[in-house]
Structures are given as structure tokens and as C-alpha cells.
């Protein structure tokens, strides 16, 4: 990864190093890795996402030891975890709440990348791998939400898998292939469990690729100017280990506040009712982190069109490195685009709010406008603003953030 200066007198370590230089690799990656010294707190969310993934996997492996993926027992086995397994309630609440916070952290991480142009040359692949992780997370989160086999689990899987029936000609065949039958049933639950256990390991592998790409192109920074001299950087350890640990402590406080005092706040009461194919809940709503996409899906009055728009909303993010025509990375120096960035953030909140409500009355219109704006941002505003905007003067380097003759 990065040029390592690793040296030691320890014979055992050297024996190991000669055969598998993994210790110097780690040393290069997390100790001496030259990090821009001006990284703000917004840069701590990457490592937080990594910690969230580890928490998810650790708690998930334990939950899987007590969980039964069968339509007759899944709900009961979750309650068995809550009632009979030692600290099972703790493990399950940590798993479910970390799942939510994982998405929150990753959303902040993605928007940070959008604001500071972290996706621009030479970090396009870094951005794309990150988005792949996000897509994998959405799949994993959805699969996991199905496992307790409550009412929302059942109806979420019914609604979401049915989306594929919009595909012309082979749609119905795809849906029964996904279900493993002609209705959502035991084969569906079984394969969802299998895939829910598999995908986190795929995510883990993608995270390693993400870090590899990061350590190749090096971290971006709030100024958006590349590292020029060694004075611009400081080693990752102890500086960013110390900083990220502060972020981690705050993250854990938020996480455990929810776990211990509002464990079901981000869940839905209907998921404490056993799945019942004969009773449809009044409002089928996905978890909060899918709500903007759910709003986009429902904004288009045509089923296939809605599905295309929903997937398009994700695909468009992959194209951002090429849609952005700006010569300057950081929005700090982009007076016009900066405003549009915040409007986009607001637009995503509006989409989430619309997604949480039944598509009736004014929500239909607001949902359509917000959806149109989402695409407008990426397809029109992002390319055009980059061309017409006159960016503020850039600092010469990270070490000299203030231009001669200018005072902050």
C-alpha cells in the first residue's frame, strides 16, 4: 500500500516478515500512512463505518447461533433471544440499532465526499467501490430486516420482490426465482438468511479494496488541493487514531443511548406482530434509510418507470465523477455549487419525509417535485455549475491555507 519504513530487531517478527510481510503492510496502512493534517471531523465517519461493520458482524454471528430461519420459528426464536438467551436482548438491540446508525454514518460519509469533491480524479474508483459497499449494505439491511418474520418483514419482502415483476416478459419468472416458490414463504426466508450471512463478508472484502484504493490515491482533504510536500501530512498514528477514537466514543454514546433507552425507536411496532399473509398492514413502510428511494419509486405513476427511477437514483451516483465538470474539488471554494449542495441535502430529507407518508394528497406532488429535483441536481446542475462558476482562489498548499495578502 504505502511505502513503509518498517524496521525491527524482533527476531520472530523478522522471521515472519521475510515470509509474509503483513506486519509491515499493516504498519504502512495504519501507522505511518501519511495523512493530510487538515482533515476535519467529517473525515472520522469512514473509520466509524468500519467499526459499525465489525459490530454488526460480531453481534450477527452470535444472533445466528440462536436464530431459526423457518417461517414457523423465526419470530419465536427472536423472542427466545430477547427472553432466554443471556444478554440476548442486548446483542439484538445492538445489532438492530447499529444497523440504523451504520447507514447514518455512511450517509454522512457519502455527503462529505459529495461536498468536498472526494470522487474527482484520481479517486473515481475509490468512490465507486464505496458506492458498491453502500449498495451491498442496502441489500444486506433489507435481507436482515426480513429475518424476524414480523408483519413489516413479510410485507417489505413482498413489496420489494414484487418490484421485479415490472421487468418486461421475464418479470414474473424472476420473482418466483427470488421467492423460491409462488409466494413469499419458507424458501424465501431460508435464502434470505443465507445471503444475509454472506453479504457482510463481501462488504468486508470491498472495504479492503476501498482502503487499498484510498491508500493508493491518498486521502482527500477539506481544501481539495493535493498533498505537495511532507509538511502537508502527518502520520496516521498517533494523530488520527487519537482523533478517530474521540469520534468513536461519541458514536458509541449515541448508539448506546438508543440501545438502552430507546431500542425500538427506529423500528416499527408492526414488526412485533408475527408475519401474517392474510393481513396487510395499513401502511407498509421500509426502514428510514430506504425512505428517499421509496419516495422516488412511488413518484412515478408507472410501475416499471418507478423501478427504473429508483435504481437510476443510485446508478446516477456512480456517474458523479464524470458529471461534475468543476476544476476545483472542494465546495469551500465553489460559492454557487455550495448552495446547491445544501439544497440537495434538503431535497433528500424531503424525499425521506414523503417516503414515510402514504402517497396521498399533497405528498404526491411534493414527492414528484423532489424526485425531479434529485435528478436535476445530478444531470443538469452538477455539470452546468461546474462550467459557469468562478471558483474562489485556491490556497497554494495544505500548509499555507491562506493566500499571500489575504487574512481569514
Amino acid at each position: 500500500m504505502s511505502g513503509s519504513t518498517f524496521e525491527t530487531d524482533n527476531k520472530l517478527v523478522n522471521w515472519f516478515e521475510k515470509r509474509l510481510p503483513i506486519i509491515s503492510l499493516m504498519h504502512g496502512a495504519v501507522v505511518v500512512y501519511p495523512t493530510p493534517k487538515n482533515l476535519s471531523w467529517w473525515w472520522t465517519f469512514g473509520s466509524l463505518a468500519g467499526v459499525a461493520l465489525v459490530i454488526m458482524m460480531a453481534t450477527g454471528i452470535i444472533l445466528a447461533m440462536h436464530y431459526t430461519p423457518h417461517v414457523d420459528y423465526a419470530f419465536l426464536s427472536v423472542e427466545h433471544i430477547m427472553r432466554d438467551v443471556n444478554y440476548g436482548w442486548l446483542i439484538r438491540y445492538v445489532h438492530s440499532n447499529t444497523g440504523s446508525l451504520f447507514f447514518m454514518v455512511v450517509y454522512i460519509h457519502i455527503f462529505r465526499g459529495l461536498y468536498y469533491g472526494s470522487y474527482k480524479d484520481p479517486r473515481e474508483l475509490l468512490w465507486i467501490i464505496g458506492l458498491l459497499i453502500y449498495v451491498l449494505m442496502m441489500a444486506t439491511g433489507f435481507l436482515g430486516y426480513v429475518l424476524p418474520w414480523g408483519q413489516m418483514s413479510f410485507w417489505a419482502v413482498t413489496v420489494i420482490t414484487n418490484l421485479f415483476s415490472a421487468v418486461p416478459i421475464v418479470g414474473d419468472a424472476i420473482v418466483s426465482w427470488l421467492w423460491g416458490g409462488y409466494a413469499v414463504g419458507n424458501p424465501t426466508l431460508n435464502r434470505f438468511f443465507s445471503l444475509h450471512y454472506l453479504l457482510p463478508f463481501v462488504i468486508f472484502a470491498a472495504v479492503i479494496l476501498h482502503l487499498w484504493a484510498l491508500h493508493t490515491s491518498k486521502s482527500s482533504n477539506p481544501l481539495g488541493v493535493e498533498v505537495k510536500t511532507p509538511q502537508d501530512t502527518i502520520p496516521f498514528h498517533p494523530y488520527f487514531t487519537a482523533k478517530d477514537l474521540v469520534g468513536l466514543a461519541v458514536f458509541l454514546i449515541v448508539l448506546f443511548f438508543f440501545v438502552f433507552f430507546a431500542p425500538n425507536y427506529m423500528g416499527h411496532p408492526d414488526n412485533y406482530i408475527t408475519a401474517n399473509p392474510m393481513v396487510t398492514p395499513a401502511h407498509i413502510v421500509p426502514e428510514w434509510y430506504y425512505l428517499p428511494f421509496y419516495a422516488i419509486l412511488r413518484a412515478i405513476p408507472d410501475k416499471l418507470g418507478g423501478v427504473i427511477a429508483m435504481f437510476g437514483a443510485i446508478v446516477i451516483l456512480f456517474l458523479v465523477p464524470w458529471l461534475d465538470t468543476s476544476k476545483v474539488r472542494s465546495s469551500r471554494f465553489r460559492p454557487i455549487y455550495k448552495q446547491f449542495f445544501w439544497i440537495l441535502v434538503l431535497d433528500c430529507f424531503v424525499l425521506g419525509w414523503v417516503g414515510a407518508n402514504a402517497p396521498e394528497g399533497h405528498f404526491i406532488l411534493i414527492g414528484r417535485l423532489a424526485t425531479a429535483y434529485y435528478f436535476l441536481h445530478f444531470l443538469v446542475i452538477l455539470p452546468i455549475v461546474g462550467m459557469i462558476e468562478k471558483p474562489l482562489p485556491l490556497p497554494e498548499s495544505i500548509s499555507q491555507p491562506v493566500l499571500k495578502g489575504e487574512q481569514e
Binding site: 448506546f256 438502552f260 411496532p269 408492526d270 445544501w342 430529507f349
Partner: protein, 263 residues
């Protein structure tokens, strides 16, 4: 010019965050259950970060459940052994369980047989299956109550409101056959007839059995059945957050120390 725009956007975002915060903080007096129905939030001993279950209310609530609710509603997820959380001794629990009969078997002859329930058994459902339950209840299904306070928006506040919300229907209200009118039920038509009446049960501790009292007690009991680990959870939460708070302060100091030379 840009400064103005930035301020405006800041205001918009600020107000969104603020309204989200207000919503998170939740109105203290009323909770919406959808369909424009609001009901009072009650004061419970078990609310808040230090809340504990009111043991006396739980015991009374258990009595209300067994004497009234259990006629139609199951409590499948609750084992008799867990009743020790109500302050019942091991012998009390054994005696309580022995009032129930459960099917066991097959024995060595291959026959199923009935026996007295023991603490490791679970509350026995009033009906053999869902269809029997519907057949006896005018086609409506009385839900299992083990998780009811977690399975309804508003939780125990809603349950209390529902149990105390029976009244005669307004004149212009068209009530279906065999249905009852309830102020707090979505659509106001509920298949469950009013379950609690004044002095319906006789409390051992001589608490007056008003409808409100019984509703409160059974709501506390069912909050416990839905979340039996609540007290452990909150106790541990206070310790964990204090620990993390101290850790945060130390880590901030470490970070400052480490970064003091960087500029």
C-alpha cells in the same frame, strides 16, 4: 448576496432539524395513533431512564389478565417461571402454574396426556387454534398479548386509552353487528366488547378496582411481558453511558495532547 442565500438555506435546514427535534422530544400530553386519533400519555413508574416496574401493579395486572383478558387472549411467550420478576416466590410460581393443565406426551404407550403445568411451562392459550378463536369471537381474532405494548403505536399509553375508551356510539354513527364503539380505536369500531367494568376483579391488596385502575395495572403487566429485560437494560444503560462519558473526556484530552504540536 451569497451570504444571504446561505443564511436562508441555513434557516430552512435549521427549521427542519428543529421540527425533527420537537417531534423526537414527543408531545408530552398526546400521542397520535394515526387516523387523527390522539390520546393522553400516562405517567408510569417504568418510564424514563431510571424507571422500574411497579411490582404491586404488575401483580394486580396479572390478576386482571388471568381473570378477564385470558378468556380470549393468549400470552404464548410468557413462561410461568418468569413470574418471579413480579416478586413471587418459587412456591408461589409453582402453585400458580399448577392451576393450568397442559398437554404432554407421548408417553411410553404413545398416548398424549394432560398434566398440571410446572414453572417451565408457558401460559396456556384459551383456544386450540386461530380458527377456534375466530369462531368464538364473531370472526374477529383476539391477538396474543405477550408483545402487545411493543406492537402498537403508543405502547402502554395506547393500551390504557383503549381499555378506558369505551362509550356509547354517537347518534349518527353506524355501528356494525356485534361491534363496540371505542374513542381511541382506529375507525372507532372494535370487535372486542368492553372488557372491564367497575369491581370486575377483587384485588387482594384491597385497591379499588375501577376501570382506570384495572386498565393501568394490566398495562403495566403487559409492558413487562413485552419487555421483561427493561429494568436490567436501563440499569446497565446508565452505567455504560457514565463509563462512555468519562472515556470521551479522557479521549478528548489525549487527542488535544497528541495534536498540541501540529500547526
Amino acid at each position: 448576496m451569497m451570504g444571504m442565500l446561505r443564511m436562508k438555506i441555513g434557516l430552512v435546514i435549521g427549521s427542519v432539524v428543529l421540527s425533527a427535534g420537537l417531534w423526537l422530544g414527543a408531545p408530552a400530553t398526546a400521542t397520535a395513533a394515526g387516523g387523527g386519533i390522539t390520546f393522553e400519555k400516562q405517567k408510569w413508574q417504568h418510564s424514563g431512564p431510571f424507571g422500574t416496574f411497579d411490582r404491586a401493579a404488575m401483580v394486580r395486572g396479572l390478576q386482571v389478565y388471568t381473570e378477564v383478558c385470558a378468556a380470549c387472549h393468549s400470552l404464548d411467550l410468557v413462561a410461568f417461571r418468569t413470574l418471579s420478576a413480579l416478586g413471587m416466590s418459587e412456591d408461589d410460581v409453582k402453585e400458580f402454574a399448577s392451576d393450568y393443565e397442559v398437554e404432554d406426551g407421548p408417553d411410553n404407550e404413545g398416548e398424549m396426556f394432560d398434566r398440571e403445568a410446572v414453572p417451565s411451562d408457558y401460559f396456556v392459550a384459551p383456544y386450540a387454534n386461530d380458527k377456534a378463536a375466530r369462531a368464538s369471537n364473531n370472526g374477529a381474532f383476539p391477538p396474543d398479548l405477550s408483545l402487545i405494548t411493543k406492537a402498537r403505536v403508543g405502547g402502554e399509553d395506547y393500551l390504557y386509552a383503549l381499555l378506558t375508551g369505551y362509550e356509547d356510539e354517537p347518534e349518527d354513527f353506524e355501528l356494525g353487528d356485534g361491534m363496540a364503539y371505542n374513542k381511541y380505536y382506529s375507525g372507532h369500531q372494535i370487535a372486542m366488547p368492553q372488557p372491564l367494568f367497575e369491581e370486575h376483579v377483587e384485588y387482594d391488596d384491597e385497591t379499588e378496582a375501577t376501570v382506570e385502575q384495572m386498565s393501568r395495572d394490566v398495562s403495566v403487566f403487559l409492558t413487562w411481558t413485552a419487555e421483561p429485560a427493561m429494568e436490567d437494560r436501563k440499569r446497565m444503560g446508565v452505567k455504560v453511558l457514565i463509563f462512555l462519558g468519562i472515556m470521551l473526556v479522557l479521549l478528548v484530552l489525549v487527542k488535544r495532547r497528541v495534536w498540541s504540536g501540529v500547526h
